[in-house]
């Protein structure tokens, strides 16, 4: 079985063939290898959510073809017989309230496992484990998912997907609305699933710090096209271009450029806080020796 996700000349037009059509993807071709941790970034409306929804066939291409671990999705693919594909591809939507539908938190998280044939007891166990993984308090178990705070809803949505134990995990801005601890927990969890359980992670995000801290590959989108696909260091090497793309440098790089402006010269632009601290420390100590 081919272990990659690939897009071949994929175009997506919303409300195609109507006077209200909207082009969202424009001849996108790309390959995401299995077990990679890929971040997708780009300005609002550049097509990130549209792109990832093709991977579990919630959206079908208007033209072109998508291959997910050997399964092909083409414009005429129907919603039938996609159960197997969707078991492999877990998807956390951009808006958690679009993902929740059951009457209680626990039932919502159990839905996936039960649907794939787990017994009531097993599903409940999976759901409880997932609740713990995402840091949901036991007391919220029987509450309606719609009577939760924004961040709590987000955690329920993530737990519902994790409970299905997917091989590919798509996270569409999963930390929007999470408090800093929750943010770190969820990102660390994604890293753990990637490093130790071999999941393929696809992360849509506006947080440049997460991109450098967690991702191995980065895709930059602009107006429905892929404009760059590379390592974080390639992507952030040209600040002017980064700003043009409506993005930012990671905080450390941003801070480093301000140091440079203040007349403190660093050898290279550090992407993470540890690298930045190394550079500054070296500078101070080196200066101290002379």
């Amino acid at each position: 079985m081919d272990q990659t996700i690939s897009f071949k000349q994929v175009t997506h037009t919303y409300q195609a063939n109507t006077p209200f059509s909207q082009d969202a993807l424009d001849l996108v071709s790309l390959t995401i290898p299995a077990h990679s941790f890929t971040a997708i970034i780009g300005h609002t409306g550049s097509g990130k959510s549209t792109l990832v929804q093709h991977i579990n066939a919630l959206l079908k291409p208007t033209s072109g073809e998508i291959d997910v671990y050997g399964r092909t999705i083409i414009p005429t693919t129907t919603n039938k017989n996609l159960k197997e594909l969707r078991k492999h591809v877990g998807m956390v939507f951009q808006f958690p309230e679009k993902q929740l539908f059951e009457e209680s938190v626990i039932k919502d998280i159990m839905f996936g496992p039960k649907n794939y044939g787990a017994s009531e007891a097993d599903a409940e166990k999976d759901a409880e484990d997932a609740m713990q993984l995402v840091g949901l308090d036991e007391s919220l178990r029987d509450k309606s998912p719609f009577d939760l705070s924004g961040g709590q809803m987000r955690r329920v949505a993530i737990a519902g997907v994790l409970a299905m134990k997917p091989e590919i995990l798509i996270l569409d801005e999963p930390t929007a609305g999470l408090d800093p601890r929750g943010h770190k927990e969820i990102m660390d969890l994604a890293q753990e699933l990637h490093d130790h359980r071999g999941l393929t992670i696809i992360l849509v995000t506006h947080q440049m710090d997460d991109v450098v801290d967690y991702a191995s590959d980065v895709i930059v989108m602009d107006r429905g096209k892929i404009v760059k696909h590379g390592k974080p260091s390639d992507i952030f090497s040209d600040p002017k271009w980064v700003y043009q793309m409506h993005l930012d440098l990671p905080s450390s790089a941003e801070f480093a450029t301000r140091l440079v402006k203040a007349g403190i010269h660093l050898k290279q632009t550090p992407l993470t806080i540890e690298k930045l601290a190394d550079e500054i420390a070296e500078l101070i100590k080196w200066e101290a020796h002379t």
Binding site: N17, P19, K83, R86, F93, F101, F111, N115
Partner: protein, 265 residues
């Protein structure tokens, strides 16, 4: 589901979009009344032709339009079949117990089908080209004279606009839940009919609770933005009576007269 057009508003700038809501609303009533005067092939053909012109002038292709009301067409066919089976008279082709099919009932069935279709299509054109708030305004203006008789015009208008909003809201909610469940492995539309119905039942509860939730949040948002009632507001869009409206009325009146002339007396 998002292709379902009945009750939905599509932004645009067509001839029909730019007409005044009041006059559209009245034209709709007028058209429905005229439909009930139609009683032969010629009259129905005239009205259908007029409707096709109206749809085209709203900027939507006929194919897209028909696809958009397909679920309703099934409903009409079902109603018409009952009608055919239960009506009597004329030359009977087939009968069984209380059911019978005759030439008269077939012809009548055909006419009823067209009649329903025309009514649904004209009202879809109305909602497609007029925002719910504008429709409510239209109703309010049209019914204003009734206020003298203590008829609750404002309440009716508000209820109507909420009801109109509700159809597409329910449809969108349906789509959202379908997607949420699909992404967690529910396979709608495969397996036996029984299996499919079984898969659809768990949708109903979340559909209604979801819709109620959204309605609640929406009314909170409206309140937070200072909404009190539909009367104490200024209007962003005003629709004055324009030449377009006069022309449209001219055409509709002519067609009305033509129908009276062509019908079997």
């Amino acid at each position: 589901m998002s292709n379902f057009l009945f009750g939905r508003y599509l932004p645009g700038n067509s001839w029909v979009h730019r007409m005044s809501p009041q006059s559209k609303l009245m034209l709709c009533f007028f058209f429905v009344i005229v439909i009930f005067f139609a009683n032969n092939v010629w009259t129905y053909a005239t009205l259908s032709l007029l409707l096709i012109v109206v749809v085209l002038m709203s900027g939507v292709s006929i194919g897209y339009f028909l696809k958009g009301i397909r679920p309703l067409i099934w409903l009409i066919i079902f109603t018409v079949l009952l009608q055919i089976l239960f009506s009597s008279g004329g030359h009977v082709y087939w009968h069984f117990g209380p059911f019978s099919v005759s030439d008269l009932s077939l012809i009548n069935g055909g006419f009823i089908f067209v009649r329903f279709l025309l009514i649904i299509m004209i009202s879809t054109v109305l909602t497609l080209t007029t925002t719910p708030l504008a429709i409510a305004d239209g109703v309010q203006t049209v019914l204003k004279p009734l206020k003298k008789f203590h008829f609750p015009v404002d309440t009716l208008a508000l209820m109507l606009s909420i009801a109109l909003r509700f159809v597409p809201t329910l449809m969108d909610e349906m789509e959202t839940i379908l997607n949420a469940q699909r992404s967690r492995g529910v396979d709608f539309g495969s397996g036996s009919l029984r299996h499919r119905i079984q898969a659809a039942v768990p949708l109903l509860v979340p559909l209604f609770t979801g819709a109620i939730n959204h309605a609640e949040n929406l009314s909170t948002a409206m309140e937070a933005r200072g909404f009190t009632d539909s009367e104490h507001r200024s209007k962003y869009r005003v629709y004055k009576w324009q030449t377009k409206d006069t022309i449209s009325w001219g055409v509709f009146l002519l067609v009305g007269i033509l129908v009276l002339f062509l019908r079997n007396n």
